[in-house]
Symmetry: C2
Subunit: 467 residues, 2 copies
């Protein structure tokens, strides 16, 4: 009988039994083992298949889990739904306490699948086993080099970081999101699938105590137990920010959700009230699930809601001010000292949003002052956080200037910074984005997302103050 914490076993197993096909292919047991090996998994791997007679990637294939004599921390099951109950019973007999059910064809499929799901839940309950899934793309613990993704993702390297993402869709798993290309700094990934057992509450409790997780980002279609959820999430937000994208806002979405994971949506007004009471930061769009947590993982919280904006164009300053205002951010005047100092560099420069545009055309070497201007804004007493909008020039002329300025910012400024990069050549834009992120500053896909991320920092800082 496995005596370790069953939830921890999902993310730090010393041994894993894998049930599925082991033919070479882009999905299934073979691919899961390859991903485990590529990600540097050091634990034991036990493939299980009653008819597969060969070795797979140099591992012996066991005809049944009952043939394995060693302790098994985690089982991953990718077999036809109808065979799952029997295999689960065998797992229970072997003392396995943690099971990822990649298999689908359960509550999300039809009435028969729903019954099958109820049957496996009963088996798990009886034996004290915890289930993730069914209908899940699974889990990963990037920090520990444990990536049992059942799909081919085209990459096996990840950047380790403080964001943990948890969802009711496989859209957060490596085969669906370009973690490596984006150098996304990730800690843990968990697709809860139909969440017949392990749910957002279990994950919140685990991630709250996980020292590698700095911020939790969640996609859910339903809340399994509203009261328990509110109680737990309130405790978690006191420790770490919790960002949630919840669908089923509309009755049509709720209906689609019932068909997707078989889940019943909660009344959205109740969920909204829970968010306000517990300090949940509510997301609106799918991409925000990935974009916004990064600022929490890398930037300090702001003292207050006053934003300093530094851009090359007035229009963008207006857009950012407008967007900020909708989210409770103010873009007020700089101190007299900073205003004076910036106006000396160029007449009218000392206004927030600070617009470098007019001076670039008028003053040949204005870019030599870029770092100085940025530091003046960043250290201004009236500024709690900074939005920077560099223009990636089409000849890469300004790149070194930006990098130097951000480096200085990193060393001497303890305020949160969000960045949006624009420019006429995509490759230069991407190059600058990557370099700024390497220094440690998150760059956002859209101007409005950058502003929203900052506003969520303000909201979370306020939640922390109230505790």
């Amino acid at each position: 009988m496995n005596s370790k914490d069953p939830i921890a076993n999902f993310f730090e197993p010393q041994s894993i039994a894998i049930f599925g096909s082991f033919r070479e292919g882009n999905f299934g047991g073979y691919m899961m083992i390859r991903n485990l090996l590529d990600s540097g998994y050091q634990g034991k791997i036990f493939p299980v298949n009653p008819t597969f007679k060969k070795q797979v990637l140099n591992y012996q294939v066991f005809p049944s889990v009952l043939a394995i004599t060693e302790e098994i921390d985690l089982a991953a099951i990718m077999i036809g739904a109808a065979s799952v109950p029997e295999v689960l019973r065998q797992c229970a007999g072997q003392g396995i306490k943690s099971v990822v059910l990649v298999a689908d064809g359960f509550a999300e499929r039809d009435e028969k699948g729903l019954q099958l799901q109820q049957e496996i839940v009963a088996i798990a309950k009886e034996s004290g086993m915890r289930l993730i899934g069914p209908n899940t793309a699974g889990i990963a613990n990037i920090i520990k080099g444990f990536n049992p993704c059942p799909y081919y993702a085209g990459y096996s390297d990840f950047c380790k970081g403080g964001v943990s993402i948890c969802s009711q869709t496989g859209m957060i798993n490596p085969q669906a999101y370009p973690y490596w290309d984006l150098k996304y700094k990730i800690s843990k990934i968990c697709d809860l699938g139909n969440k017949c057992d392990v749910d957002e509450c279990d994950m919140l409790e685990y991630l709250a105590n996980d020292p590698d997780t700095r911020v939790i980002s969640i996609y859910i279609e339903s809340v399994a137990n509203g009261r328990r959820f509110a109680e737990i999430v309130g405790r978690v937000t006191a420790k770490k920010p919790v960002l949630i994208l919840k669908t089923g806002r509309t009755s049509e979405g709720a209906k689609a959700s019932a068909s997707h994971t078989g889940s019943l949506a909660v009344d959205d007004d109740i969920f909204e009230a829970t968010c306000r009471q517990t300090g949940i930061l509510r997301l609106d769009k799918f991409n925000e699930l990935f974009e916004i947590p990064r600022i929490f993982a890398s930037q300090p919280l702001p003292k207050d809601n006053r934003l300093g904006i530094f851009s090359f164009t007035g229009g963008v300053g207006v857009l950012a001010t407008d967007e900020g205002s909708r989210h409770g951010i103010t873009v007020g005047p700089l101190t007299t000292k900073t205003t004076f100092e910036l106006n000396k560099i160029f007449p009218g420069l000392g206004k927030n949003p600070v617009d470098l545009g007019p001076s670039v055309a008028a003053v040949g070497d204005i870019m030599a002052s870029y770092g100085k201007i940025l530091m003046a804004i960043a250290t201004d007493e009236n500024v709690d956080m900074i939005l920077i909008i560099p223009w990636a020039s089409p000849n890469d002329a300004f790149s070194d200037i930006y990098l130097q300025a951000y480096q200085q910012l990193k060393e001497s400024c303890k305020k949160p910074v969000a960045t949006w990069v624009y420019g006429p050549l995509i490759n230069y834009n991407r190059d600058l984005i990557q370099k700024l992120e390497e220094i440690g500053f998150p760059v956002f896909n859209e101007l409005e997302t950058a502003v929203k991320a900052l506003s969520m920092m303000v909201a979370y800082a306020n939640t922390k103050k109230q505790i």
Copy 2:
């Protein structure tokens, strides 16, 4: 005296006088001439500078506009604000009727600049001259190969198309947006700057009658004349869709706007009412200014609001349904015939949103049916428009299947289609996006933008029905 239509002269001039510095550099008169030549401008170019003694790019530089004896359709002025009135008077004397004032330092700068702006408006009025600007990055007519961008953009090729973009910021000009990298199909670009004279109304009237413009996308911080605007825009939306992003929703944004272009914002509630009355499609985010008009330029309008969704993952179907419902789109059941047909391919497949995910893992060759499934959804009588969400596989395995299916869609389906692509490798994602767009289907950056674009098609189709 130039007798052509002064607004048309901005976009189709046979001759242009350029006032500025002609030193080689990334901004100014030299760069404008280079961009004109690179874009294939066939008209006459007259550089004007009293002290520049050399030729510039093989063009003779005139000491004054008065020294030019030929007719001049358009003047572009990039000189210090203080010298502008005198040069404008000379232009008036030469009979020039259209002037782009790239120069800044006017109402957006300070009280003195405001007076200067009033002075040039008076000069223009007296002589019947029309001004674009000041404080503008200028104009371009991509269809005619006329790109007098004053900045170096790193590219000089464009794709010709039906979208015209008009704004109060240079963020739409080539140096700020990757038109070429995105193969963006563009017709005309116009940054109105401080819009001391030519405003959104003039542009709307011109673009409404421009056969090359199929859809008009506008960023404004203010409306110069509310009554005139409402009257004109109502007429234009009867002919072509008009999409508008307007800042100054909040009082802070309005204040920032006053400082940016010296414009006074209108009450946002009044503007919102105007949008509803006239059929303006109101945008919310900067990127939508570019993303959303593409669907109007390439797709037919939907008959009604019923969306068919085809994806690889249930979560995305739920998200899209939820988002659609917020915008008045319904995701209802397919006809019994389609449902039956799809369920034959895989049990449960015949539900809208159609989720291919479960069958991909379960059926080895399901992708061979991709085109058939897509056509079944697209031709379903209960479906007025289609949202397709292809997964760009990490080995490019499905690319040909997608391309074939979209090609078939193009040939035989007269319903609007929006696409969102996701996948684990950015380069494969981008490659697929580009190929789908080459076939003629717009692919959107975010799932929610794709849904919103479709909802705007529905809204515009309703506006047309009411006329």
